[in-house]
Symmetry: C2
Subunit: 352 residues, 2 copies
């Protein structure tokens, strides 16, 4: 089978994404190739395409929320066969032998994990290209099995937005009796609410926008607190064991800290960068913490998919065609999506 594929790529930080023909690397013995059926659109795709983080390489085929069906398997593949449902998230390789990899934390690989796009294959140095494409080739070690009970389109965003919120919920041991708050109701936040609720936590949305209450409750939130209202924030002082802050831009984190219980942690998963002013005093006076968390390891991502399969959890999505990706990026920047765009990759076959 040829590894020439068509996809959609950005050619520069200012350009629009358009049709792009390229070659995928060949199938290795432990590889599978996957026909891509659906791709979730992550806020980080827009950052990468626009070179907001200064490391963009063009042409860039974005996307790391990929689901489809297995086309081919290499001779050493054990867990997949052609026709199986399969997913690929943010990682396609890691060193496999460092301390972090040994713990199943491939996302924190000490020798540097290989991201699904805008990165280099560690074996042959070929460029990694993401999901806006007909197919992807990946080691079965980094491919996920998608439970039969899950709808494929609504599963795609689980591979980034889902695992990004699932991993801190698990790492900080959320379960029945836990009190969890989610800051921000977007792609990550809506998954955080669903997952925390399904784990048995009392779940609160902390939002700047009063208009989100009904939707938050529909998604599973027990409470909604308007974070710009000092009285509402004072009423939840000392409440939360864990806060997951999904806001993807620089913002003031200090007001959330007093709402943590003693020993509680606020985990940043959306914004990567400096805080202008962060007060350590409130951390000290109640043994609180500010932490960060990045997606999740491969075994944990599989655990998350299985958990979602058991609990019937999907992302809330709006399905689009690949030809609409540029407009979708603009809408994403305006937070005009509930709650994740998913591209029906059948649309790619219409392009010649």
């Amino acid at each position: 089978m040829s590894n020439n594929v068509k996809g959609y790529a950005a050619q520069s930080p200012t350009g629009r994404l358009g049709l792009f023909d390229f070659e995928r690397r060949g199938l290795r013995p432990d590889d599978i190739s996957i026909e891509i059926l659906y791709c979730g659109v992550c806020h980080s795709d827009v950052h990468n395409v626009r070179n907001d983080w200064g490391n963009a390489k063009y042409p860039m085929v974005p996307d790391h929320e990929i689901v489809g069906r297995v086309l081919e398997v290499g001779p050493k593949v054990k867990r997949f066969k052609p026709g199986d449902r399969a997913g690929v998230g943010c990682l396609v390789e890691s060193c496999r032998h460092c301390g972090a990899c040994g713990k199943g934390w491939e996302q924190y690989c000490e020798n540097g994990a290989t991201y699904t796009y805008n990165h280099s294959d560690p074996i042959d140095g070929t460029r990694t290209y993401g999901g806006y494409s007909e197919k992807i080739i990946v080691s079965e070690r980094f491919a996920l099995k998608v439970p039969d009970s899950l709808d494929l389109a609504g599963t795609a965003p689980l591979l980034c937005a889902g695992i990004t919120t699932y991993s801190p919920l698990r790492h900080w041991k959320v379960g029945p009796g836990s009190k969890v708050a989610i800051v921000g109701l977007g792609g990550l936040g809506h998954m955080g609410i669903k997952l925390a609720k399904a784990m048995g936590a009392q779940t609160t949305l902390l939002s700047r926008s009063p208009g989100k209450e009904a939707d938050a409750r529909r998604l599973g939130a027990d409470h909604v607190v308007i974070s710009t209202d000092p009285a509402q924030m004072a009423a939840v002082a000392g409440s939360f064991d864990l806060i997951i802050d999904t806001v993807p831009y620089k913002h003031d984190v200090n007001p959330y800290v007093p709402t943590l219980a003693s020993g509680g942690t606020i985990v940043m998963v959306g914004y990567l960068g400096p805080l202008d002013d962060f007060n350590t005093g409130p951390l000290i006076f109640s043994r609180k913490g500010l932490a960060g968390s990045l997606i999740g390891g491969i075994a944990e991502t599989q655990e998350m998919l299985d958990f979602c399969g058991e609990h019937g959890i999907h992302s809330d999505i709006e399905t689009i065609r690949i030809q609409d990706i540029n407009e979708a990026y603009e809408r994403l920047l305006r937070a005009d999506v509930k709650y994740r765009f998913v591209i029906d990759m059948a649309s790619l076959r219409e392009d010649q």
Copy 2:
């Protein structure tokens, strides 16, 4: 027995400490009175006396590192009898019923713990006065037993400097195989090194000053890293499970974060206040955390004293007379002490 006592007090933020006669509250049924034999001098005493935190009340009798012998016991006291060795740390009361108190975290009491000085007794509203005095009266619930194997003078600083470093070491589960770094070699830092080493951790001092290496090794450090040397800091990238930052003034915390291992935490115990710029990115890319920790609970403080008794751990001290307290404060501000001043309170009896 009269509760009129003499002590040393500050009368204003700018004044020197001098002789002061005052009345202690009366003995309640579960109280003990303690003849004060030694007092450690904590950096926070200077902050409090000079009203650096804006909440000073004068006259102020400082000190919360108190050891002595029991004089009297109330009728309901069970754990102490006259003549017993006893200590009082930073806390003399808490609500005893909130979630934090229930966990033995009286220092994080949700209704506000009562500090040993510059605070108000929650029952009768009388002022709390610290250790620069002939005696102190405290509920046995907040008094500590001092193991017979410990020298009393070298024990006094354990009640703040010791527990402040012991509590995060225990909370973050340090033991054999752990890699711990201590930032700063002062009153807190020298205890952090001794305690981390005694718990079996590989222990590193991170210091700006090359001159501290020999002393750090004598105290138990396996390694000394000069934190202003980028090459030395790069050599320990990704190393530490826990960093305890004891530096008591505003400083840049960012350079320490890369030296944490994945999942590691840097805990602030010295500086309480805003950081000008703290970068969340490195937290996210290795699931690291910035946390705070404040002294320790009463049961944990007893555990720490027992641990020090078993391991023969004292503070390194320079003994002074109470009449020298004003000069000692000046030297403390110049970091001119190895590593804690302890007042021999017998000197107080010379004053009329």
